[in-house]
């Protein structure tokens, strides 16, 4: 499958990753090679096959609804790059 630089730019935006022009060019070439390889899956007829999301035969795992202590908020907040009190601080989201 052909992949354009525009495709890489579009996907990088969906993934919220800022890329430089040279990265876009580099990834475009490499991804084209990788897609050429994974396109071999198209040789198989899978119309009658059920998908396997994972291998275990377990579904809807639940546990009793019991109150337990949670993580220490201080330890959790300690690794945040910006915080105010017990909140994560981020750049302004809504224009005033």
């Amino acid at each position: 499958m052909a992949i354009s630089k525009e495709d890489v730019r579009y996907i990088a935006n969906l993934a919220r990753i800022g890329l430089s022009e040279s990265e876009i060019e580099h990834f475009q070439k490499q991804l084209e090679g990788i897609f050429e390889y994974i396109d071999q899956l198209k040789k198989l007829d899978v119309s009658a096959i059920m998908p396997a999301a994972h291998v275990l035969d377990i579904k809807n795992v639940t546990r009793p609804d019991i109150v337990k202590s949670s993580l220490d908020p201080k330890l959790v907040m300690d690794s945040a790059p910006a915080k105010q009190g017990q909140f994560f601080k981020v750049p302004k989201v809504i224009e005033g």
């Binding site: 996907i11 994560f88 750049p91």
Partner: protein, 482 residues
């Protein structure tokens, strides 16, 4: 002999007999670290020398044994950075279940080992810190992604270690470094506290110097955990009891797709010798077919990257570690821009490549053609194994298509790097347990490994065959010259 060269079960005997004290072990391990770490660079950062204390009260199967853990396994209060810039400064707020279990068994958590960034790689070269080197040849890679955990054990810097395996990340470095590495059955070991790469494939597992230690360490870390809803509520057998049982009549399958024209001749020869050795011990071999093998790498790089793109969405400059400097400016360009710049600067090239690939295969218009199709082919890969295991106890294959390659050799060619997991990837897709153990050396002195694949929860079959092979061959006693 210096104690760092011994196994956990040998050390236990020395401690029990009173010939050595726990301090003796720790001293020898520290000295070895100081002598060799600058060459091997197995650790992500300096181990916990200040915190490491002899636990006088410790009483358990791993009492006083120094164990290293991969940098993607959380240990409370310690830096846990997945060898990635985007987690710079992240201290885990809790212990992973495996760390709790290690501590309860008396083990000493010695340090965090280097890895490919977020476990994306097969060479330990995508670490944001530095590449780890192979103790057998410092110009070669140790394999990956758990290259640091494998190299630390191979270099006798630590007695045993934990890694994680999503497509071969325990077995391939075990093979390249000449140690024993097991990927347990999916669901056997809790992943609570393992920073996720691909949730339908990841498993934590042990690296050790021999099979007995491996069984010992698996027994400690295995078991149901309500905090991991994919862990399976099945009793944990005493894996040590199976060691020593002969292999007479064990049915071993050799998949013809794993032994092809053009394969590395030394790898092939080592497997042929292993087969002859095991036959002489009474195992019965037969060739089988796993017809969808050729599709496994393609399926894996769709499913694993899709899951990774989702799991790594949480690293956005808000909660953990790193944020791009511009994201903190008062006149910053806003939240989305902060995400993009933090992720653009925080992730290395391979992480970005995989997130983009994974986002692509999940995106509107391509989901059916790639992701959905890959899940269906995954069913076919699994059915191939189910069929073989209706007639066989285990499957024997090489672990890696080649011995350790040179640092830098594959870094610019992602596809050739991906293909170094060609023998290990199907096992994760099918959720099976598999071990890599030493089976010889190349003429140049690099270790070779073989892989034994078991049925779901068939770790005992694997250990039974592996132990008999190990006890009848000299390989596990060889040490690199450092």
């Amino acid at each position: 002999m210096k104690l760092n060269f011994l196994t956990a079960h040998e050390l236990k005997n020395l401690l029990d007999s009173g010939r050595n004290t726990p301090t003796d072990i720790l001293n020898d391990v520290k000295i070895r670290y100081e002598e060799t770490e600058s060459k091997v660079r197995a650790f992500a950062r300096t181990p916990f020398f200040d915190q490491v204390k002899i636990r006088q009260d410790a009483d358990g199967p791993l009492a006083q044994i120094p164990v290293a853990i991969k940098d993607n396994i959380c240990s409370k209060g310690d830096l846990t950075e997945c060898s990635s810039r985007i987690l710079k400064g992240f201290r885990a707020p809790y212990d992973a279940t495996v760390v709790e279990k290690l501590k309860n068994s008396g083990a000493i958590i010695f340090g965090k080992t280097n890895m490919d960034e977020f476990a994306f790689g097969s060479s330990c070269e995508t670490s944001c810190f530095y590449p780890t080197r192979n103790p057998w040849d410092l110009d070669c890679v140790p394999g990956g992604s758990s290259g640091g955990s494998a190299a630390a054990v191979a270099a006798d810097e630590v007695i045993m270690s934990l890694g994680s395996d999503t497509g071969g990340s325990i077995r391939q470095p075990a093979s390249l470094c000449g140690v024993v590495g097991l990927k347990p059955t999916y669901g056997r070991v809790s992943r609570y506290g393992l920073i996720a790469f691909a949730s339908s494939l990841d498993q934590i597992g042990p690296f050790t110097k021999d099979i007995r230690d491996n069984a010992l360490l698996l027994k400690v870390i295995a078991g149901y955990d309500e905090r991991d809803s994919t862990s399976v509520p099945m009793p944990v057998p005493d894996y040590l009891k199976i060691l020593g049982k002969d292999v007479k009549g064990m049915r071993v399958a050799l998949p013809k797709e794993y032994f092809v024209e053009g394969m590395d001749l030394e790898v092939r020869a080592s497997l042929e010798e292993a087969k002859a050795r095991l036959e002489s011990l009474g195992a019965i071999f037969k060739e089988v077919s796993l017809p969808h093998t050729e599709y496994a790498v393609a399926v894996y790089y769709i499913i694993a990257t899709a899951e990774a793109s989702s799991n790594l969405a949480r690293f956005d400059g808000v909660q953990y570690g790193f944020r791009a400097q511009s994201g903190n400016d008062n006149d910053s360009k806003g939240l989305i821009s902060m995400y993009k710049e933090s992720r653009g600067q925080g992730f290395g090239a391979e992480a970005k490549r995989r997130i983009i690939l994974g986002t692509y295969v999940l995106s509107s218009g391509y989901y059916d053609a790639y992701y959905s199709r890959a899940l269906k082919v995954r069913t076919l890969v699994k059915q191939d194994f189910d069929k073989v295991f209706s007639d066989f106890d285990v499957i024997l294959t090489p672990t890696s298509p080649t011995p350790a390659f040179k640092i830098g050799e594959k870094m610019d060619d992602p596809l050739s790097m991906y293909l170094s997991d060609i023998y290990t990837i199907s096992v994760n897709l099918a959720g099976l347990p598999a071990i890599s153990l030493p089976c010889g050396f190349t003429k140049k002195g690099l270790p070779l490994g073989m892989q034994i694949i078991g049925k779901p929860f068939g770790e005992e079959d694997i250990y039974r065959l592996a132990f008999q092979y190990e006890q009848n061959t000299p390989w596990h006693k060889e040490k690199p010259k450092l």
